[in-house]
């Protein structure tokens, strides 16, 4: 094979990958943050609401989960502005999409978490006279959070990988940076040799840190 590896051009444009990785992480953090708030709200509404509310939340979850992320990304960025008079940047659009996407997965996670809080503790809280709001704030939510933490970590890492789809809207995240170097320098093998470890190492590093954090908070 007459191919000689040459990383000079990849290093020259490494800034695009570096900032791309940071932007990917930023997008994932925003999506998990907004998605968690929305997902938790929907989970609580689902548990408290009547039949119609449960059906509506269920429909939202199924609609998002059974459609490819790419289609949702296109729909929000190219589709919605043609129907309602709204203008937003590609990045905003992607954050909104990924948050809605994350929320649909997290609703189920939070519902399972709320259901897994031991009933004995809730009864104990009620027995010492906590009101519903207090019970939720001081007993159910903190315990739920500790129970769902492993699922949250997994979701975060998978959202981090999903940020690669933002490259189709020319959001300059890591995959877009890789594509840019690919098309402009033709050092194709080299760029993927650099980008692959960047994704793998970052993903597993995040997971490792979060796992340690989880162990400290695990409900025993």
């Amino acid at each position: 094979m007459g191919y000689v590896l040459n990383f000079t051009l990849v290093w020259r444009h490494f800034g695009r990958l570096e900032w791309g990785l940071l932007l990917s992480l930023e997008l994932a953090v925003l999506a998990i943050g907004i998605g968690s708030v929305l997902g938790l709200a929907l989970a609580l509404v689902h548990n408290a609401g009547g039949r119609a509310v449960r059906l509506a939340v269920g429909a939202y979850v199924e609609c998002i989960r059974n459609v490819p992320l790419l289609l949702l990304v296109y729909l929000v960025f190219y589709g919605i502005p043609t129907v309602i008079d709204l203008r937003y940047s590609a990045t905003t659009s992607f954050v909104v999409t990924l948050s809605l996407y994350a929320a649909a997965y997290l609703v189920e996670v939070f519902r399972a978490g709320l259901a897994a809080v031991p009933t004995g503790l809730i009864e104990a809280g009620r027995a010492i006279g906590l009101r519903r709001g207090q019970l939720l704030r001081d007993v159910r939510l903190p315990l739920m959070f500790r129970i769902v933490l492993p699922s949250l970590s997994n979701t975060f890492v998978s959202l981090f990988k999903d940020t690669s789809v933002a490259s189709v809207l020319a959001v300059p995240e890591l995959t877009y940076g890789a594509q840019w170097i690919n098309f402009n320098t033709f050092r194709i093998i080299e760029v993927y040799m650099v980008v692959t470890p960047m994704y793998v190492v970052t993903g597993y590093a995040i997971l490792w840190v979060l796992r340690r954090f989880e162990r400290r908070l695990a409900v025993r």
Binding site: N66, P68, L71, L75, T163, S164
Partner: protein, 216 residues
């Protein structure tokens, strides 16, 4: 809106077929690959386990989109003349194989190792043990997540539109390119994907309920 959807429908048939074709090829390839690697990673010698672990962890650690781009753009550089269709199927199969390997490993390790030892001690060969002892028990653990992975393959196949494979996603984009009316088409596309994947996920839930009696 509805009229626009109806008018576009005939132009999506070919794309839908390609989506189904890609998904089917990926599912079959990943089933074989995953069963093989999953068996290897559960019962193989240490060296083999390490190799498979590394492969699975790397493939699962990068986004599918990057894997598709990497296979598509790197393959000609190393002398493989893939078309975009082949590159798409290879990339998605690699990804799905890694997923199925994990599912197989999970299902296999949910069976107590005493089962294998008991099978071996009454004289069954390793393959005999797999076929007559392990698989009949592990299949209950395997089916629900595996069907979910099939749904993931269908959803993942939308990404192949980005390397120019004219699947459902790209046909939708092509129709929009002519009509300049994105919303009806995206909604129609969402409905088609929904129907396919909802059927699969309902099937998965059905099996899960069916096998719910299995408890360790």
């Amino acid at each position: 809106m509805f009229a626009a959807m109806l008018a576009a429908l005939p132009f999506l048939g070919g794309g839908l077929l390609v989506t189904l074709e890609v998904s089917a090829l990926v599912v079959v390839a990943a089933l074989f690959g995953g069963l093989l690697l999953g068996t290897g990673v559960t019962w193989g010698p240490l060296a083999l386990r390490l190799v498979i672990r590394t492969f699975v962890d790397i493939v699962r650690g990068i986004p599918v989109l990057v894997l598709i781009f990497a296979v598509y753009y790197v393959s000609p550089e190393i002398g493989l003349r893939f078309g975009n269709f082949t590159a798409a199927v290879v990339a998605l199969s690699l990804f799905s194989t890694a997923q199925v390997t994990e599912i197989v490993r999970g299902a296999a390790s949910s069976i107590h190792h005493g089962q294998m030892e008991a099978g071996r001690s009454i004289g069954l060969t390793f393959t005999g043990c797999l076929v007559w002892v392990i698989i009949p028990q592990a299949v209950r653990r395997f089916l629900p997540p595996w069907i979910n992975s099939v749904a993931d393959a269908v959803k993942g196949s939308a990404l192949v539109s980005l390397i120019g494979v004219v699947d459902l996603m790209l046909s939708i984009q092509q129709v929009i390119g002519r009509t300049y009316r994105p919303m009806p088409l995206y909604i129609l596309g969402a409905i088609i994907y929904f129907v396919i994947n909802y059927t699969l996920s309902s099937l998965s839930r059905g099996f899960e309920a069916r096998f719910a009696y299995v408890r360790e």
